[in-house]
Symmetry: C2
Subunit: 331 residues, 2 copies
């Protein structure tokens, strides 16, 4: 973290005069380092993707920022208490959830975030894979260490779904809706998914990992493939390229805020918004529970966040782990 904080200091100075030169002597003096040390750090920053020119007389000039979700870019924007205060960035890993679970097992603190530019084995729900194209999406996993009653662990997924939807709605003005329990749709197409994993004893969770995959700058060609569900991206829906960093930072801030609210006020504070944001309530659905298919109407959420389905014979059933395979008349 020492190198990281020096990076942050140098970048802060270079960004203040973006495109303008600052002498090595000035940087060295303001950072309390030698000119040689500044030079070495600048070389590292260039390796991270920063475009920095150097001129023997003028000094250093920042001319371009990397399109990468590295701590150097995220930390200055992040005004959270715990979400993302420990960041682990990878150019390419198997799955951010897998690494976050490992870090959690080794005691990583509450709010630790694992980010990958690319996942080679991105995981979706129910052992499905998740397409994780390099630098087009956000693939991030968050470690939560507040113990939740095991029977309420699924609330964390819902809090994340509400937080992410509300960020897409309020800041990107997209009509995001939650396909219960863990997908976010825009205009009937999947834009993001959430995958929660956890370790628990019989009463309380020891830790949870909330993984999010968000399609950000995908173009139609990036979304081709044998998907179970039509996909879209923030860029496609907004009609312009989106800064991934902004979206990640906004999500982390909103999630922290909403998760703390959940801990304080309970799940009932989320039910009205889950209803409001639901892509399934009131719709006719087919839902797969294990190997059993239920057809019926998604009638309501139970106070604990289960989905109440009225089947075609008029029986009501509350489902917790169902997979909605088809939505008729869904917007």
């Amino acid at each position: 973290m020492k190198r990281e904080s020096t990076h942050l200091k140098i970048l802060q100075l270079l960004k203040q005069d973006f495109g303008q030169p600052i002498s090595g002597t000035t940087l060295a003096s303001l950072c309390g380092l030698s000119r040689t040390s500044i030079w070495k750090h600048v070389q590292n920053l260039k390796l991270l993707g920063y475009e920095i020119t150097s001129h023997p007389k003028e000094g250093y000039r920042l001319t371009g920022l990397p399109d990468a979700l590295i701590a150097e870019e995220i930390v200055p924007e992040l005004h959270t208490s715990w979400a993302g205060r420990h960041l682990h960035h990878f150019a390419q890993i198997g799955s951010t959830n897998e690494v976050a679970m490992e870090l959690a097992l080794r005691g990583a603190p509450h709010g630790t975030v694992v980010i990958a530019e690319e996942q080679t084995q991105g995981k979706g729900r129910l052992s499905r894979s998740w397409i994780s194209s390099p630098r087009l999406g956000i693939y991030a996993s968050l470690v939560l260490r507040t113990p939740l009653p095991l029977m309420e662990a699924h609330h964390a997924t819902s809090v994340a779904a509400v937080a992410l939807s509300e960020v897409l709605i309020t800041i990107w003005t997209l009509p995001a809706r939650i396909k219960w329990p863990n997908d976010i749709l825009v205009n009937g197409r999947k834009i993001a998914g959430i995958l929660t994993e956890l370790q628990s004893d019989q009463d309380y969770t020891r830790f949870l990992v909330i993984g999010v995959g968000i399609n950000v700058n995908h173009q139609p060609r990036d979304l081709e493939g044998p998907f179970r569900y039509p996909a879209t991206s923030v860029a496609l829906e907004c009609g312009r390229t989106t800064n991934r960093k902004d979206l990640l930072v906004q999500f982390l801030a909103r999630f922290e805020n909403q998760y703390d609210l959940y801990l304080q006020e309970g799940f009932s504070a989320f039910l009205p918004r889950m209803e409001l944001l639901s892509a399934v309530l009131g719709k006719r659905i087919r839902v797969l529970v294990g190997n059993r298919e239920i057809r019926g109407r998604a009638a309501a959420f139970s106070p604990e966040g289960g989905l109440r389905v009225w089947d075609e014979s008029g029986n009501e059933e509350t489902i917790w782990a169902g997979d909605i395979t088809r939505l008729e008349g869904m917007e």
Copy 2:
């Protein structure tokens, strides 16, 4: 496992003629090994606690068995398909659940069992400790890899509690009762506890670890201490020392049988027995749910195994993770 299976073969031959000598040549010939190899294995068996005398002319003579829950003693008695087919025995470890969780993370197969003669950090429920005196009790953890819906993971604890109670009732003729959800009482005193831990995604468990701690040959002096609940042991209740191996083998067999039944027929097959065996149904209880105390009557189990409590104002509440702190009028 090769060494273990040779041990098993040699022991089988020595046990057939317990107290009688068998020549090294005979053993070597029947095991397909050299006499030197037999000698080496016998030395290892003596290290494990087997009393084996050797005489230049007569050969080897088994005169005593170790009081240890080692594979050499358990495997010949175990007629299960999966429970305990992979055994890991430790003279002393921190906690069998901890080791079993680690083995499960590394892919240990369904039914793997971790046994310790002594735990230095035995874990009880809700982060309490569990007294694990050397060689007096059974401290064992079982890895289950059949995926269960996360919201039904607690069924595994109940299946274990029913199986263990029924073994104590049918074979040791003790009036065992379940103090919901995870303790076994005999005559109002705690004789065993179950601690379940698991890893899961938001829908299905990836694996569970069912840990059992059973007080077997404890005498009153072994059960002194600041317990939350009066304790007893199988030996105290039966009035004689009990073979720990027999109890462990019986439990593993019964658990396998009942768990397979649960997978096949569902939890409803267990509810009548949970009711029959319950130490709390119909009783006035105080139950701590988080920091909230509910006083009332334990009225029934819900179809999913939650405890329905009628509080003093006549409200019904179903609890899943409650801790029963006091039972009035409990037998």
